[in-house]
Amino acid sequence: MDPAVVAGEPQPRPAVVLDVFEGPLDLLLHLVREEKVSIWDIPIVRICDQYHEALGRMERLDLEIAGEYLVYAAWLLLIKSRMLLPRHEGEEKDPRQELVERLVEYEKVKAAAAELAGLAELRRGVEAVRCAAPDAPTEVELDLEEVDVLALAGALRAVMERHLREHPAAMELAPIRFSVREKIVELFELISRQRSFPLLSHLLTRPDRLEGVTFLLAALELVRLGTATAHQRAPFAEIYLTPTGVALPMDALVDG
């Protein structure tokens, strides 16, 4: 890459086993330590070349190289080229600065991780005593202090999945019992409270399938009136309604 630096026979180095690294920062930290240089004054040209060499070995071993490694490879090249350009003293900051800051932060993370791993090691074999309690409740109970919003979302998902299993969708004709106009107002109220309203899961969980159909017509009407936008990431995926901020023109509503 840079003939001035890699002139002569490349030094034989111990093969770096790449899959032991947690990512580009981990690999870089390893290279800096191997060079026995200060993290504050990284010989960037050499480190950059070694980094690319490591990626090359990965390629030769036909290992899949995670995207993050390539991002750092490009960044290192950029820093290297900036370092090779003449710089005026005090004019701009060291091109290495941000990289150094990230490495320093990552080194702290590694140190803290090592502390935690050490603690965990000391705790092996420490298990809670569980003696049988008189009349212990057989039902699983959740500690309210310990459940978070993700558990809440997970519980809803479990309910919906069970529900859809037990109530597979089917077509059926029934007399009209719901007014689109009424559903437009109801739906508009619902979507106004949320950033993105999941239309399909709402439709699929209405007790009355016809009510669901009326809701769908209402949703189309809301989009037509410019009061909401609809997004779908893939065919058959959830459809999200997002309020546009336009108020509902009550007099333009269709009857039916």
Binding site: D135, L142, L152, A153, G154, R157, R193
Partner: protein, 184 residues
């Protein structure tokens, strides 16, 4: 004798986490080479006597062909009291599911909750209302004008949410697999 004491400690540790009576055979398999049945029995006896004497809250008892560490009958009242106290800080799986439905589908009526869960949920809704996580707010203008339920401000505070829009989206929920309630 020092060895017997340390054997008794190992036995105590195993009985304490087993959650079921442990047979002498199982203990023998665990305590390592060079320990025979008589020694394990002596260790159990040492343990049993120690818990008898010292005003311990536990006792070593022989049940169902094995040995277990258990609480004493005289503490039953305090233990019931504790379990009752703890269940006030807990929710049943059913109540948690219902809370999730109200959170994501509000305002929602009891018939709608029953329909989604496939079981009558009047009891759990009442629990949630008592716990102030859910409240009735208005009535749905359909036959029977059932009450509409919503989550409360306490609900938001408990889950650290600024508002309902901050609830995880279905995509974010998919980041955590399972039903989110399995034991770690």
């Amino acid at each position: 004798m020092a060895e017997l004491a340390s054997l008794a400690a190992v036995v105590e540790a195993v009985l304490a986490v087993a959650g079921e009576p442990v047979t002498i055979e199982a203990l023998l398999a665990v305590v390592g080479e060079g320990v025979d049945r008589a020694q394990v029995e002596a260790a159990i006896e040492l343990l049993r006597r120690r818990h008898e004497q010292e005003g311990s809250g536990l006792q070593v008892e022989s049940v169902g062909g094995g040995w277990r560490l258990a609480t004493r009958p005289e503490h039953e009242g305090a233990l019931r009291e504790y379990l009752g106290y703890r269940s006030r800080a807990r929710l049943s799986q059913a109540a948690f599911e219902t809370l999730a439905i109200v959170a994501y589908r509000q305002p929602i009526t009891l018939p709608e909750i029953n329909f989604l869960r496939g079981v009558n949920s009047a009891g759990v809704v009442r629990t949630l209302v008592e716990r102030k996580l859910v409240a009735a707010a208005g009535r749905k203008q359909v036959v029977g004008t059932p009450l509409l339920y919503r989550t409360t401000k306490e609900f938001l505070v408990h889950f650290g949410l600024p508002d309902l829009a901050a609830l995880p989206t279905p995509e974010e929920a998919e980041q955590v697999s399972g039903d989110g309630t399995s034991e770690a």
